[in-house]
Amino acid sequence: MAGKLNFSLVSPEREVFSGQVDQVDAPGVEGDFGVLPEHAPFMTALREGPVTVYDAKGVRRFEVKGGFADVNASGLTILAEEAAEIAAG
């Protein structure tokens, strides 16, 4: 399996998440999508929904509203207008 995916989730107020992960699932306007390491360059607008992050330590869930995602050689960046972590339950 390839290396890790460099992922950061940023809202205007702060950087909500930043780190090396295995996979991220996010809600695109035309459907949910998953990003693995070494994904092809991709840009999409986001709708309201959950962003799920899989890393070595387990799964973390965030709720985002609006914004967009940018996947390129340096990793995945989600710029959300609003973002918050959903407490693991």
Binding site: P12, E13, F68, E81
Partner: protein, 265 residues
Amino acid sequence: MASLKEMRNRIGSVKSTQKITKALNMVAAAKLKRAQDQAESARPYARKMADVIANLAAGVSGDDAPRLLAGTGSDQKHLIIVATGDKGLAGGFNSNVIRAARERIRSLIAEGKDVRIIAVGRKSRDGLARLFGDQLIRTFELSEHKVIGMNAAEPIAALIAEEFEAGHADVVTLFYSRFQSVISQVPTPRQLIPAVVDGSAEPIDLNGAVYEYEPRKRKSSRPCCRATSPPRCWPPSTRTRPASSGPRWAPWTTPRAMRATSSTA
């Protein structure tokens, strides 16, 4: 020669002034600190946004380029947004921005361009309405928002997009105070449309790969750019309020009352 009683009264009066200025100082310092923290925490977002825009601009060109990024190709119609605070007593904070904007507007009009103005903050409306009342299309006041965030920028961005799509604007420029330090805010014009790629933001080398856009290109540019515009208006507008506390705070850092006391004593 003042009598001993007069001297004593004078000392008393100066001391109470000193207490008042100290209180004002602390209130302003606290406000400024909070606002500064807020502005600083917005920086990662602004930086990433600049990167994304650089990528977007590098990836699209020619007829495919979204117009919100590339502009209309003309520079006849200018939309000027002027961001100031709502309140005065802030040194040159508001007036410097207004003056910079006024000069630009004058020269644009002299060149025969069409100019429309959006005022953000009561002070910029006051400063521009008298001279450019006909060009002023809308005023946004900030005082209705307790904390200035995305929600304050959203309607402004929506109006800009609306104006642009209606063909009322070819070039959109924002005038605001860039926070440099507590005592220094620089009036800065920033062109929003066509997008100017930040010099520090480097598009990432894709090794020949091509960006996939969702929704598809032509349509896509709209939601994407639309999404980019409020945040791009947002950082300046949040900085406007904190920064205006700066000058209000600075004069108190060398309490005149204190010096007065020492010279009297």
